[in-house]
């Protein structure tokens, strides 16, 4: 189910909205190693928030601080306005779905899901009803009596999800929940997760190193690197308006053209990028000074490729086809420019492959508009 709603869900744009989670200048050190570096971040209720970053950038550490398994070295974390620094894990209204699932091997699927409910001293009838509800939510009614080692990986993943949702936590933490699943199952499960998040209304924080997954499921994505947050924005904003070369490069494919800027009219710059080449024209929301170093980031699908010289393009450069990557629905052309730089251009394969008119070593024109890319200072 796609997210259809009358009003756009964007509590982060509403200054009166109180965040559910608030990281305030949080630093986490392991010995002298800084795993989380002065991090400030707000996450709102009902969000599906994704932490995205390379392995070792501190995603799991952030989750573990939220769950209460790691102490905070500096700063503070608030949950619903309350400082949770000294609240032990069993007293937090936070549940975690572990990267390894951490299902109890000696308990049946049913008992695994009931485990947290039993700790709350709920009545037997209440527990029975809730466990059945959870089993239904993840469609595992038939497997209630099985032990974890008697079910498949995908089913285990759903048991772990049901178990962590059973206590109706304010916040659910999912640490690479789909990491162990194969691609097809992953994609199905992503939509299932979104569905469950919407029906339960729980705030989800998901960790992933797969940018496609983050873009698919999340209301907002935080891109991390070495314990710092590089950018927090909606998937579309992060794709279209990355704030740094790092983010642009991390999310999807991108061409980076670096050079010196010269202003030419309001919000428009000319970027000198190679000896003997026409400078390229680009618009920018941020201002650059005369002669400042800048990087133009353009997605491959925003670059057109043609055999004839285009007439109406803001920027056009001639080059030679180095390589063609055929992806079924799309083709990516690697075009070498006279200076040696390689630019990727992507087109949809609307024609049959046999009739494709551009091939290896062909001289081609690539072109794009001034608004196609983003100018970045770093």
């Amino acid at each position: 189910m796609p997210r259809v709603s009358q009003t756009v869900f964007a509590p982060w744009d509403d200054p009166t909205e109180k965040p559910l989670i608030r990281f305030q200048n949080v630093t986490k050190r392991f010995g002298t190693f800084v795993a989380i570096d002065d991090l400030t971040l707000d996450i709102y209720e009902r969000e599906f928030f994704a932490l995205l970053g390379p392995s070792g950038c501190g995603k799991t550490t952030m989750m573990r601080m939220l769950a209460g398994f790691e102490t905070i070295s500096e700063g503070k974390i608030e949950l619903a306005g309350q400082d949770i620094g000294h609240v032990p894990p069993n007293e937090r209204a936070v549940n975690m779905m572990f990267q390894s699932y951490a299902l109890f091997p000696h308990l049946s699927v049913w008992d695994n899901i009931a485990f947290g409910l039993k700790r709350d001293r709920k009545s037997k009838a209440e527990i029975d009803a809730r466990v059945d509800e959870m089993l239904k939510l993840v469609r595992l009614e038939k497997f209630a009596r099985r032990k974890p080692h008697q079910i498949s990986g995908g089913q285990r993943q759903r048991v772990a999800l049901a178990r962590s949702l059973a206590k109706a936590p304010k916040l659910l933490l999912l640490d690479e929940p789909l990491g162990a699943l194969d691609k097809k199952l992953r994609q199905d499960t992503q939509f299932e997760l979104m569905d469950i998040q919407e029906t339960t209304g729980t705030t989800f924080v998901i960790v992933t190193h797969d940018q496609e997954e983050a873009m698919t499921v999340a209301s907002r994505v935080a891109v991390m690197d070495e314990g710092r947050i590089m950018q927090v924005a909606t998937p579309a904003a992060i794709y279209e308006h990355p704030n740094s070369v790092y983010v642009a490069d991390f999310i999807g494919d991108v061409n980076i053209i670096s050079g010196q800027t010269n202003a030419s009219g309001t919000d428009t710059y000319r970027l000198s990028w190679a000896e003997g080449q026409q400078p390229v024209t680009a618009t920018s929301d941020i201002t650059f000074s005369e002669g400042q170093k800048a990087h133009l980031a353009i997605r491959p699908e925003k670059i057109r490729i043609s055999t004839d010289q285009p007439v109406d393009a803001d920027n056009k450069v001639q080059g030679k086809v180095l390589d063609i990557a055929y992806l079924g629905n799309l083709s990516t052309y690697h075009v070498e420019l006279p200076g040696g730089q390689v630019i990727k251009a992507q087109t949809a394969n609307t024609r049959r492959i046999a009739r494709r008119d551009i091939t290896w070593e062909d001289p081609v024109w690539i072109s794009w508009n001034a608004t196609a890319g983003v100018m970045l200072a770093e």
Binding site: A67, F69, P88, P89, N90, A102, F104, R119
Partner: protein, 291 residues
């Protein structure tokens, strides 16, 4: 043919070192005591026919008539059970501590646990006599600390036997429990806490059940040899310590009644078959669970 030979080796071993001695002991237990060398009759020299004709269950009947024997069996069972429990109580925390220790410490800790095996068992038991006697190190220390005025009588009591058994068999308890705890995924404990358990609850609900196989294996490894233990009760125990191993020894060497001694040994073996079979089943179940 080669496979057959390979399989034959363990069976040959079993026949030579277990089955043959067992059959000899069984035969002696069915014979009568005699003033001869060897001290029983009949022997093979009398011919197979006479030999079989003269065997009977007299000695086993005798064991049921004198209450010394069943009391000794019961007392051994009790001492073995209590010492197994004590060993578990001492051993589990040690195994737990080892499993939680930083990786770089583990090899050293393991070494410390098995280090006593490097000296003779007998010497270590004698050392305990030196520690536990009235003028021993323990009493001297307690008196010096001012905790007691008069020395405690520990040596030659059941307490000394418990101390001896717990000390001797502790590694057999620690190692299987450590192996079970070491395999345990640390995130299980965290998951339990995440779902609302205190640390103590998580320990009882997750750690203990998941180390059950180690506990069971350790208990059998202590209980089985403790039941027939002879050296510890005779060196550390007193006249009041009744254990079947000691009775067996006395029948053989003091009374020179080999047939009755053999009957005692056969019954002990039959009693031990039960826990040994249970132990084997536990090990097998564990192996199946791991596959």
């Amino acid at each position: 043919m080669r496979r057959f030979a390979l399989i034959a080796i363990p069976y040959l071993w079993l026949v030579l070192l277990f089955l043959a001695p067992f059959l000899i002991v069984l035969k002696i237990s069915l014979s009568d005591a005699a003033l001869a060398i060897p001290p029983y009759a009949p022997t093979l020299k009398d011919g197979i026919g006479t030999l079989i004709a003269e065997l009977d269950f007299e000695n086993f009947v005798f064991l049921t008539q004198d209450d010394l024997y069943w009391k000794a069996y019961l007392s051994s069972l009790r001492i073995a059970l209590i010492s197994t429990l004590l060993t578990l109580l001492v051993g589990y925390p040690i195994a737990y501590g080892m499993a939680k220790a930083p990786d770089e410490w583990r090899a050293t800790l393991m070494m410390v646990v098995i280090l006593p095996f490097w000296t003779s068992f007998l010497i270590r038991v004698y050392a305990w006599m030196g520690i536990l006697s009235n003028e021993g190190l323990l009493n001297q220390l307690l008196i010096w600390l001012g905790l007691i005025g008069e020395p405690l009588t520990i040596l030659n009591t059941n307490t000394a036997v418990y101390i001896g058994i717990v000390y001797t068999y502790l590694p057999f308890m620690i190692l299987p429990i450590y192996a079970a705890l070491d395999r345990l995924d640390a995130s299980l404990d965290e998951a339990a806490q995440d779902l609302g358990c205190t640390r103590t609850q998580a320990f009882w609900l997750v750690t203990i059940p998941l180390s059950k196989n180690g506990i069971v294996a350790g208990c059998f490894l202590v209980f089985i040899p403790a039941l027939g233990e002879f050296v510890i009760p005779s060196l550390l125990g007193g006249s009041g310590t009744l254990m079947i191993g000691k009775v067996l020894w006395e029948e053989f060497f003091n009374n020179r009644d080999w047939p009755v001694a053999s009957a005692v040994a056969i019954i002990l073996l039959l009693i031990l078959v039960i826990p040994i079979v249970l132990f084997q089943r536990n090990q097998q179940k564990q192996q199946e669970a791991e596959q």
